[in-house]
């Protein structure tokens, strides 16, 4: 029985494939990209722990052959914080959606970033609540549509990267389901960053976001990513007006700050001497 490429056989619970995402959904591309990043870094699979919340994105860990945890809506980062602090040797990766991470999970996002705990968070950002059938989310662009924004979304969307940067994340980047090679590199650098890393991975949702907003088929949505993404390194070359309706991808922030579990280990050391 043919069970996929070497990458898939090595890293997936193949008997659980094919996954549940719709035809043309970008999440499968992102999940593979995350897996390829893990493979490229040849991490010890026994020590990789993937945590997710609730939503389309968050079904990913079930398919991935690691220590996997599918938690409650919005709470992946809080669960992951407990895992990382309790066992820092684990490489903790959070896979979450735009709604899961920035709506109900917003409080946990800004605090995990503020702590700069060594967790790599990949937001499968498809600008919609897919699992519940197409409601608009905190990243749905203004004036666009969702089943709960039948007259156009009046909310202003988050820039997830700026949000994470402002809260204290030390690695922040954005990739897309089209620019897969770049995304793999961004995830690798995020995993290698000893601190809180956030990668905003723009996905496509033809079934709801695409249909509701007349973005065409999966192929058209992929071409949109291809034609409207501008790499942060190239931004200066573009006049302002052109950038108006483009979006910027690439690495935005890569700094080093004290990492939470390292700081806690210093306390453990300090306390040990107290009790000699």
């Amino acid at each position: 029985m043919n069970t996929g490429s070497q990458l898939i056989k090595n890293n997936f619970r193949v008997e659980k494939l094919p996954h549940i995402w719709c035809p043309g959904c970008g999440h499968g591309i992102l999940m593979r990209a995350v897996t390829e990043a893990i493979e490229n870094l040849n991490l010890d699979k026994k020590k990789v722990c993937i945590v997710s919340g609730i939503g389309c994105s968050s079904r990913a860990p079930g398919y991935m052959d690691f220590n996997t945890l599918h938690t409650t809506h919005g709470r992946a980062l809080a669960f992951a914080t407990g895992i990382k602090l309790a066992k820092p040797e684990l490489k903790v990766i959070v896979i979450t959606g735009d709604g899961d991470c920035t709506a109900i999970g917003g409080n946990h996002l800004i605090h995990a970033a503020r702590r700069n705990i060594d967790i790599t968070t990949i937001v499968f950002n498809n600008n919609i609540y897919g699992m519940t059938g197409g409601q608009y989310s905190p990243t749905t662009p203004k004036n666009e549509f969702g089943t709960t924004a039948p007259f156009g979304n009046i909310d202003k969307a988050f820039d997830v990267c700026k949000l994470a940067d402002g809260a204290g994340a030390t690695y922040v980047a954005r990739g897309t389901a089209y620019h897969v090679k770049q995304l793999i590199k961004l995830v690798e650098k995020g995993i290698n960053n000893k601190g809180f890393s956030l990668i905003d991975a723009i996905s496509i949702c033809p079934t709801y976001y695409g249909r509701k907003n007349k973005k065409g088929l999966a192929v058209d949505m992929m071409n949109y990513l291809k034609d409207n993404a501008v790499d942060v390194k190239a931004v200066k070359k573009f006049q302002k007006e052109i950038l108006e309706d483009k979006f910027v991808i690439g690495e935005f922030k890569n700094t080093t700050e004290p990492e939470y579990t390292d700081e806690y280990n210093k306390i453990l050391e300090k306390v040990k001497h107290l009790h000699k």
């Binding site: 026994k46 722990c49 938690t71 990382k84 602090l85 309790a86 066992k87």
Partner: protein
């Protein structure tokens, strides 16, 4: 048996000391009166035993991180009071279905809402059983003294490890904040139970949700040990992988319920006193119990044939014993700091074998022996 240590201790402190005796290595929580001393003491003491403490951004994150800690193999606890207990409900249900051992302490304060933050109450009794959505296994214990807080915290950890389930420890502000002399049992006197672990050989066919033949509690590996298993809050199969299958879902829920229902004798703890000639009974628990005991002793001096029942295990309700007692008891009085919660269980079980009366108090003050005594005179 060498001499036991004697200490003057606060209830909340005894909870932490008990947790340390039980082998706690992880605490995640959030400050809330009247439980904050538990967090403060864990912050100070856990690093000294190689354990870890984290103050999270809210109570939901508190229990989420606690569950995360437990998944790496550490005995984990969180503590809160009413408002936080309400926030934790969804993840308590998650820990019940995903069968993750952990201890949730609720130092009850007068509610609802912000209520009387520094005043005692027993108003979360039903919430402890029905707070989160859906049927799920529940174990809840409630101490009546600082020493019992120490003992029942150990019991809470033991039950959570033994049955792979969250256990709720119901204190109230009286028990949590009062100080009294406590005789600490020596470590060799204390029974410690650790979770059943899978053997290393079956690493690749390890099924995180398949108990051994005839058992109800599956062995539990820890993240990072080579058992790459999946944990989810969705209904799941023996591998832990999500399922919509009606049969599998039915079997899973009934199995986790049976973990408790089939072991009620092991889990249910209670004490009785003055029962020999008893025609009437006072049933009390937690912070109200000592007032009840004082009232019963006085009543007996006045010639009332009153017995006393102390419920230490709140859930599951000590159904068998209460039904037996009701055969020879005419009237039962249940004093509790709420408007009638645990009394409903007594009525459900006793039906019309005995008359059931309730003494409720919700103004933030403890129920006094005099109040219970006058109620005894009135109804018995």
């Amino acid at each position: 048996m060498n001499k036991r240590q004697i200490k003057l201790m606060q209830g909340n402190e005894a909870c932490v000391e008990g947790a340390l005796a039980a082998g706690i290595k992880f605490y995640a929580g959030y400050p809330i009166t009247p439980s904050t001393e538990i967090a403060e003491l864990c912050a100070e003491k856990l690093p000294q035993v190689g354990g870890k403490f984290i103050q999270m951004e809210d109570e939901i994150a508190g229990i989420a991180a606690t569950i995360g800690g437990s998944l790496t193999g550490l005995k984990s606890m969180t503590a809160t009071s009413g408002p936080g207990f309400s926030l934790k409900q969804e993840n308590i249900g998650y820990a019940a279905l995903a069968e993750i051992p952990c201890v949730i302490v609720n130092v009850q304060r007068a509610g609802p809402s912000t209520g009387l933050p520094t005043a005692p109450s027993q108003g979360d009794i039903m919430q402890a059983k029905w707070g989160t959505h859906g049927d799920h296994p529940v174990i809840a214990l409630s101490p009546t003294s600082v020493r019992e807080t120490y003992d029942l915290t150990i019991k809470a950890f033991n039950f959570s490890e033994k049955y792979r389930t969250p256990v709720i420890l119901l204190l109230d502000e009286i028990i949590g904040h009062m100080r009294e002399k406590v005789e600490i049992p020596n470590s060799d006197e204390i029974e410690i139970i650790d979770r059943l672990k899978p053997s290393v050989e079956d690493a690749d066919e390890y099924m995180a949700y398949k108990p051994k033949k005839g058992e109800l509690v599956p062995p539990m590996a820890a993240f990072g040990e080579g058992f790459n298993f999946h944990v989810t809050g969705l209904m799941h199969d023996d591998f832990g992988f999500p399922t919509n299958d009606a049969n599998i879902s039915d079997q899973l829920l009934r199995r986790i319920m049976k973990k408790i229902d089939n072991n009620v004798n092991d889990i249910t703890m209670y004490e009785e006193e003055f029962m020999e000639d008893a025609e009437f009974l006072v049933l009390a628990y937690g912070g109200t119990y000592r007032s009840a005991r004082s009232a019963v002793k006085k009543a007996r001096l006045l010639g009332y044939k009153v017995g006393l029942f102390k419920a230490l295990t709140i859930w599951p309700f000590p159904e068998k014993r209460i039904r037996e007692i009701s055969n020879k008891i005419k009237k039962i009085l249940v004093p509790e700091m709420n408007l009638g919660q645990y009394v409903l269980e007594v009525e459900r079980v006793v039906k019309n074998e005995s008359e059931v009366h309730h003494l409720g108090k919700v103004n933030g003050e403890a129920i006094t022996p005099e109040e219970i005594l006058s109620k005894i005179r009135e109804v018995l």
